[in-house]
Symmetry: C2
Subunit: 318 residues, 2 copies
């Protein structure tokens, strides 16, 4: 179950009086939510999504909410938050922060071909460029510092071969940074979780990019690596060269990748795999109280990491 | 012809590099423009309208552009301006101010029924409420002060009966204000030109409200009267009671009309008719240099004004 806060039609009708989107036509819970409660809200004026935030606080939310508003007004097809009559994006439902945003067209494409990978690669580059003028800052909470802090706490849960893999990969990532490999990489606000289920495809067009609640500041190349690892890996974790090539070329056409990014690419692909292997291990072995987080299998990104290490410098590039 | 500034596909491709909306797919001039040049612009990311401003200046435009942005983020289906990579809404094409905005669905309904009139009445009330939190101010340049200033300049062009009508109506409007009839009327930013051709209907739903370049601060009731005079009048200028009733009820349901507004309603309907009779006389008899303004027949609103005067206090009300 993933509707944690029940909102009745009567409650919503009352709440909508704070907004300028007409009267309620229909209300339907969305089961896909993991961290938040989401409803489809159709009104006489249009189609919206209501999000009730179960964990994120009023202190944390403005970074994400204003990021979506910023990207939307730059033309990125992401949820555009709707301001209420007091000009605020965040309201309150059942004592929790809540937001209305536009509903986007399309559905997740879980078996993408090269054309889909090209579309999302181009959109990602566009988002990165549009994000450069966003002026709020928030370090990616699942970035390199988190890897280094968290790895020692995970070791005891792992069999010997995985423990060795985790230790050596952390050492590799540290050495890469100590060697200055990341020094010249462009950085900025990144989505950091642009998996297939966070993109709505409308045919071969990107209809919507959703779920910005892992966004933060990091290397733009890290975001590309996260995206490519999900969209362009096969069942064994190996890269599909046609899909990877399509994504990289489309990204490069919108935001040309630099020589420094070329040099850092193999390490960044490994780091992006490491990040999800670690966070899945973390959620699996150290679940939070009353965990509502759906547990993904950590083995998937262990395999991706091993595949990237094996591939070394032979990874596809633009 | 109404495309005053020719923009080629090559020029636009170059210009789009300032934006985050993907690459150009198609470009098509829109012949309907009167004061601006407009193009439909389809890109890999979506559908947009490019407006090149032929007369409005960079000093005047921010009021309108930010008004559209404000209303759009409140959920009003109006063109949402797209910010460029420098975070600006207004760019430059051929030395003129230019803007990209979202393209809306629907088409003008020139023979509306009561259901259409209800939809636009409700939308107008919603816009008025959303506009209350807009914080830029600009007096309606075609408001009461303009009527009083301009009437003497029009008299010489008119036959005796129309001259008498204009003089007596100005005197009536002045007396209404001197008597305090308008003192308690809610005011704020209004569209001021919400004729049928400025609304895109998507079936019986309002798909889009466009052309905000006559917007300004005035009585909210004035905007309702302008809208009703166009949508709910028959060929002779008489109100269609079923349409007028539908619009008024739908407006009232969203923003309840006050007793003061009830008292001022007959005078406001006359004032709204007077405004368009006068501006059409003005454009007809005193065309601006190189006038690109399409000349509407002034007689239409003379007839509407006469019909409202005849109807007196028997006009429909919620």
């Amino acid at each position: 179950m993933s509707v944690f806060t029940t909102v009745t039609a009567d409650e919503l009708r009352d709440w909508l009086k704070n907004y300028s989107i007409g009267h309620l036509v229909s209300l339907e819970g969305i089961p896909a939510g993991i961290e938040n409660t989401n409803y489809f809200v159709d009104t006489s004026h249009g189609r919206y999504v209501l999000t009730v935030f179960e964990k994120l606080t009023r202190t944390e939310l403005p970074f994400y909410v204003h990021l979506m508003a910023h990207l939307a007004r730059h033309g990125i097809p992401c949820p555009a938050p709707i301001a209420d009559r007091d000009n605020e994006y965040l309201g309150t439902i059942h004592g929790k922060p809540a937001m209305l945003a536009t509903r986007l067209a399309g559905r997740s494409q879980m078996e993408p071909g090269p054309a889909h990978c090209a579309a999302i690669g181009n959109m990602l580059a566009t988002m990165h460029v549009a994000g450069q003028s966003y002026n709020r800052r928030f370090d990616n909470p699942r970035g390199y510092a988190w890897w280094v802090d968290t790895a020692p706490r995970l070791l005891d849960f792992l069999p010997a071969d995985e423990r060795a893999l985790l230790e050596s990969e952390i050492a590799f990532q540290r050495a890469a940074r100590d060697d200055g490999l990341c020094r010249e990489l462009p950085h900025g606000v990144v989505h950091a979780d642009l998996f297939r289920d966070n993109v709505l495809m409308d045919g071969e067009r990107v209809g919507g990019v959703i779920d910005f609640y892992f966004a933060g500041d990091d290397y733009l190349l890290f975001d590309l690596a996260v995206t490519l690892n999900d969209w362009c890996s096969d069942a064994a974790g190996e890269l599909d060269p046609a899909k990877a090539d399509a994504m990289l070329r489309a990204y490069h056409a919108e935001r040309p990748l630099s020589d420094a990014e070329h040099r850092a690419w193999p390490a960044m692909m490994r780091g992006a795999a490491l990040r999800f292997w670690m966070s899945r291990l973390y959620d699996f072995h150290m679940p939070r109280d009353g965990a509502m987080v759906h547990k993904h299998d950590p083995a998937r990104f262990r395999d991706v990491l091993r595949a990237r290490i094996r591939a070394g410098d032979t990874l596809p590039w633009r």
